[in-house]
Amino acid sequence: MKFSLPRQALILAALSLLPGVGQAIYFRDKISWQSPIPPSEMVGADQAREWGDSTIWIDARPDNEFARDHVPGAILLNEDRWNELLPQFLAVWSPGKKVVVYCSAQSCDLAREVAERLRKEAQLPDVFVLEGGWEAWVKKNR
């Protein structure tokens, strides 16, 4: 059975969709369609609030932004003064705590970088990035 050129192209395009969709399902935990941070490493403001006292909030923004305003009880930990600030954070961390890192907004990379360093270098479990960042927290809480 001979197919016309457009039909051949359409069939090939449709066939290619199948493994693509399969991979998208397989990798759904490793990549989010909304943001470069995988879903397993993100947490919404509501969920983080539900964790209550077992949450440690980390502010990854520069010093001046933290000084202006921050999540109550948040600890400043940015890469500008990582060596100085890290021990201060570790002093309040204990096993079982959930660490939620935020920076200014969803598009900001600072929180993701700080979270990655905490996971890779300090090898801490349960480190998350706040979905929507400081902007989202302010919207929910103020």
Partner: protein, 152 residues
């Protein structure tokens, strides 16, 4: 099919082009998460579009490459591959003309460090080969369509 040098060369070019696209597709399909990040790195496409392309494009290349090898949906595969290369070329040239430093990452993360001239040369070479294959395909279709001359 009668053996001729022309047919033989046609088949070789078929296989080379198919191998290039299958290789490129497999490299990218092995790590679509990294590919999505590589696409996002240039901040041209929205993240969601980049993720969609990262999952879809490698398989399109693989299937079209296989179609060339097995001569199934041959002309359809040729059209898709030609369209892909033309889009890559136009995007690369347009970006370069605007002063943007873009490499198409045809071979995924492996080709990140290739220079613009290297990418351009490869894309033009592939386009030329595809043009040859299109020509051969059309010529063969015409030859099959015209009736054989009868001898008196």
């Amino acid at each position: 099919m009668r053996f001729s040098l022309g047919n033989f060369i046609w088949r070789i070019v078929d296989l080379i082009i198919a191998a290039i696209f299958i290789y490129a597709g497999v490299l990218k399909a092995l790590d679509p998460v990294q590919l999505a990040h590589d696409i996002d790195h240039y901040k041209i496409l929205p993240w969601t579009v980049g993720v969609g392309l990262a999952f879809y494009l490698p398989w399109l290349e693989i299937f079209c490459g296989l179609a060339l090898i097995f001569r199934l949906f041959y002309r359809g595969a040729l059209s898709i591959l030609t369209a892909l290369v033309v889009v890559f070329l136009v995007a690369t040239i347009a970006a370069k003309v605007r002063g943007l430093d873009i490499t198409c990452g045809c071979f995924g993360h492996a080709s990140q460090n290739w220079s613009f001239p290297a990418h351009l040369a490869l894309d033009l070479g592939i386009l030329a080969a595809l043009a040859v294959l299109c020509y051969c395909s059309v010529a063969r279709a015409r030859a099959n369509a015209s009736p054989m001359p009868t001898s008196s």
